[in-house]
């Protein structure tokens, strides 16, 4: 028996409800005290196509998906075709009796197939409950949950509770009862085969209840924790669920959330709100961010604190909406004309999405500039069981920098307030509009210390530009160096940023377990970084392998500009899919042998769409 360590995949067409049943199962497991990591792989269409929900379960925290699959729930033929290869020996597939499986191929790989007449039973159970065939068929989901619980040894009550919750409230008790009956029937059927399946889910006795949140929800929650009360956005996958989440929480936390006519308006609404002193944000993907670029520069020019999230998808223009990538880093560093201070953060993992978003609001007000949060599709959709202690709300300390209080403003002499006063650190005391002692304009033209248009005077231009740019020095002192993971002074260092954090960590663990000593250097704070401190960090790396979700190694380019250090090898993936630890470990191991061997000049081929380059 293998306890509490498995991956389950639930696959079918969009509209069949795999995400609902997957999320329901995840919830049941987490309530039982287990830990989960769940991600969805879905196409950019509303009905049809092929989607799957992937659930990794453990009794320890899990941060990334795994390649190896123990159990597949197949709702259509394609689910079988797609995942059969991934099932480990001894694993199983649960499917409707009407679907075809190649028994010989299965037997050869020692994979069990458990077939049940789910659909026939659903129609039979649904009819007396007054469900039409279309709705009755949706009960496949609950049946699959029942079967999964039985096969994995989870007590029926665990899922009965979630099913009752899912259906009890909205749909009336006849439907809820029918679903429970379906689940019970499937549970009893599957129980007979349970001893053929070695992986079991046995909730720990001392299990604590955790939250289930994805990266986008964590970003929204981090914003709320920091006192953000305003989000304006235009729907764009994979960022949409940030405004959706905050809108769902608007009544609870008294937030204003606004879907605007386009992304230009989205960022401009947020700038207007921020100008009054409200902590404000917007969220989009690369295409929408492209539209926001002019206004981003305006926020830089008027020194408006603002948080902008770019949830990356692969490809220029529309690209691949539901997929993931890391192609926007250089764009965000340079977006908008001329020069102005900005901060770029790339959170890695759910807890980091929370904490670094919250931190972004303090940084934005402290340095009176836009703070850009770079996340990506994989992280936006992937959810994890998170302990309450991982998202501390009470401890967060609000830092509004040089924002003037009413008491400060009361002491001012009317007419003397300078919004853009030249100061030693470049940060000018910021009055919020509405006080009689500080009546002022903010201006996107070059401006005087008072914020009045000054398009001509060269001395004023230099003074104001230098004032703004000076803020970068203080930022550099505050920004965090990349974090190390794994054994110190390992001969091999994997370098990455943002959402690949835990896949890289897992690769490091796997490599070390295989006897290849390696560690990782991971960036969350991307810009601006102190060059000397960064060079010192990189000096500790021996053979440096850059791992990125783009084709030109964008972080490596930045690191090279700031430190002169070039990575020895690169692992670049831009097929729209996330890295897994196992895949990375294999690529590194292969590279290692290659490098050790003839120092191959030819790029290694990979059927995993990794661009692995060995540099002679």
């Amino acid at each position: 028996m293998i306890k509490n360590n498995m991956t389950i995949k639930i696959g079918g067409e969009a509209g069949q409800g795999m995400d609902t049943s997957g999320a329901g199962f995840a919830r049941a497991l987490v309530r039982a005290g287990l830990q989960i990591f769940a991600n969805q792989d879905f196409m950019s269409r509303i009905r049809g196509g092929y989607n799957f929900y992937q659930l990794r379960v453990s009794d320890k925290p899990v941060y990334a998906p795994d390649d190896a699959t123990q159990l597949v729930l197949a709702f259509n033929q394609q689910a079988i075709a797609q995942h059969l290869r991934e099932i480990v020996p001894g694993g199983a597939i649960i499917h409707d009796a009407a679907l075809k499986v190649d028994a010989a191929a299965l037997a050869e790989r020692n994979v069990h197939a458990f077939a049940f007449p789910f659909e026939a039973k659903a129609l039979e159970v649904g009819r007396p409950a007054g469900m039409d065939p279309k709705h009755a068929k949706l009960m496949l989901n609950t049946a699959a949950l029942g079967a999964t619980a039985a096969i994995t040894g989870l007590p029926f009550e665990r899922i009965a509770q979630v099913i009752a919750e899912n259906f009890g409230k909205k749909k009336g008790s006849a439907v809820a009862d029918a679903n429970l009956a379906m689940a019970r029937w499937a549970y009893d059927q599957a129980l007979q085969s349970a001893d053929q399946f070695a992986w079991k889910l046995i909730p720990p006795a001392d299990g604590v209840n955790r939250m289930i949140l994805n990266g986008n929800q964590a970003i929204g929650l981090g914003a709320i924790a920091a006192g953000c009360k305003f989000i304006s956005a235009y729907p764009m996958t994979p960022a949409t669920s940030i405004i959706e989440f905050m809108t769902a929480q608007a009544k609870r936390f008294n937030l204003v959330t606004k879907q605007t006519e386009d992304e230009l308006a989205a960022i401009l609404f947020a700038i207007g709100a921020a100008q009054t002193g409200v902590r404000a944000m917007t969220a989009t993907s690369g295409g929408g961010f492209s539209l926001m670029v002019e206004a981003l520069g305006m926020a830089g020019m008027t020194e408006t604190p603002l948080v902008v999230v770019d949830s990356q998808r692969p490809g220029p223009s529309t690209g691949m909406p539901t997929r993931t990538g890391q192609g926007d880093l250089l764009f965000l560093l340079h977006a908008s004309q001329d020069e102005f201070p900005r901060i770029v953060l790339a959170p890695g993992g759910v807890a980091s999405c929370y904490a670094d978003t919250a931190r972004a609001f303090n940084l934005a007000e402290k340095y009176q500039c836009p703070v850009l949060i770079l996340t990506e599709g994989f992280q936006a959709f992937a959810s994890r069981s998170v302990g309450v202690e991982e998202m501390p709300f009470e401890e967060f300390v609000v830092d509004r920098g040089k924002t003037l209080t009413d008491a400060d403003l009361d002491r001012l002499t009317p007419g003397e307030y300078k919004r853009y006063a030249l100061t030693a650190d470049g940060i000018s005391p910021r009055a919020l509009p509405g006080h009689p002692n500080a009546v002022y304009t903010a201006t996107s033209d070059e401006h005087t210390e008072y914020g009045r248009i000054e398009d001509e005077d060269p001395a004023n231009r230099i003074a104001q530009h230098d004032k703004r740019m000076k803020k970068i020095e203080a930022m550099k002192r505050e920004m965090r160096m990349p974090e190390w993971y794994g054994p110190k002074h390992a001969p091999l260092t994997l370098m990455g940023w943002g959402a690949t954090r835990y896949a890289i960590r897992e690769a490091v663990d796997l490599l070390n377990a295989e006897g290849i000593e390696a560690n990782a250097l991971h960036f969350i704070d991307i810009y601006p970084l102190d060059e000397t401190r960064l060079a010192n960090e990189l000096a500790q790396a021996q053979r440096l392998i850059d791992v990125e979700g783009n084709s030109t190694a964008q972080l490596a380019q930045v690191v090279r500009v700031y430190t002169g250090r070039t990575p020895d090898d690169k692992i670049l993936k831009y097929d729209g899919r996330p890295f897994t630890g196992a895949e990375l470990a294999r690529a590194v191991a292969r590279m290692n042998t290659q490098a050790a061997k003839a120092r191959a000049r030819v790029p290694a081929r990979s059927n995993e769409f990794l661009r692995v380059r060995a540099f002679p």
């Binding site: 305003f230 509009p433 509405g434 006080h435």
Partner: protein, 302 residues
Amino acid sequence: MIDVTTIKVMPEFRLLPKTYDGEREVTWCPGCGDYGILSAVKQALAQLQIPPHRVYFVSGIGCGSKLPDYVHANGYLGLHGRSLPIAQGVKLANHDLKVIATVGDGDGYGIGAGHFVHALRRNSDITMIVEDNKVYALTKGQYSPTSTRGWISSTTPDGALEVEFNPVVMAIAGGATFVARAFSGDPKHMAAVFAKAIAHKGFALVDVLQSCVIYNPINTVEWYRPRVYKLDDDANYNPRDYAAAMNKAHEWGDRIPLGVLYVDERPTYEEQVAALANGALAKQPLRGYSRATWDEFRAAVM
């Protein structure tokens, strides 16, 4: 902070138009219609006794958009075409401020047209004053959306091919709750119209026929003077009558109506936002929720 809404104005503290005088030199060309607009704006604010710190101007880029730079009041001089979303963001975050957007026709109806259409529907409680000189003045005379068809400019040497944009028709059709027209050659009437627009609860558009002495040699003060007439003089005109308003909004040429074309009542956007029921967002505490609320959230995602 002093809540000015509760202050009784003593005669000696009365706000006069000069209260809003800016400290800068005005750089418009001598004879520009924008001077009249500037003075009418100050008169309207004085009429309504709104102190400078409670006013928030938002503008774009263009000759007309420089207006907030010449006024003593709060303001945000933003990007070309982008004043309305900024103005609505300000209003949503602090509805205690009187928010007034002052832009040119190119800014408001050309590059900013997308925002204009949606602001009409939204009925945010802001005022939009368009300094409509029917030309792109700051960029030296190219045609604008309100330029007459056939207008000859550096980019339309054979005359503009598009029909002109009718902002007042658009505004009425689009759901604005206050639509008016004023004329830069009649500052007194203009000030009265501005005061009504600013006092109106909801989105108010005032399209101001503005003379540009440099780039618009056709729509001059002399051209307008014999053509304009005031709707206020017509006791039978009812601006709440949609069909009548649409009729008037289409009138152009020999006779051009000035004054309030259309008025409607609809809840403002801000009035309908639950989070604003307890006062302006900017005045609410940053983390105003309790520990219990947070725990409630945690329980909901468990």
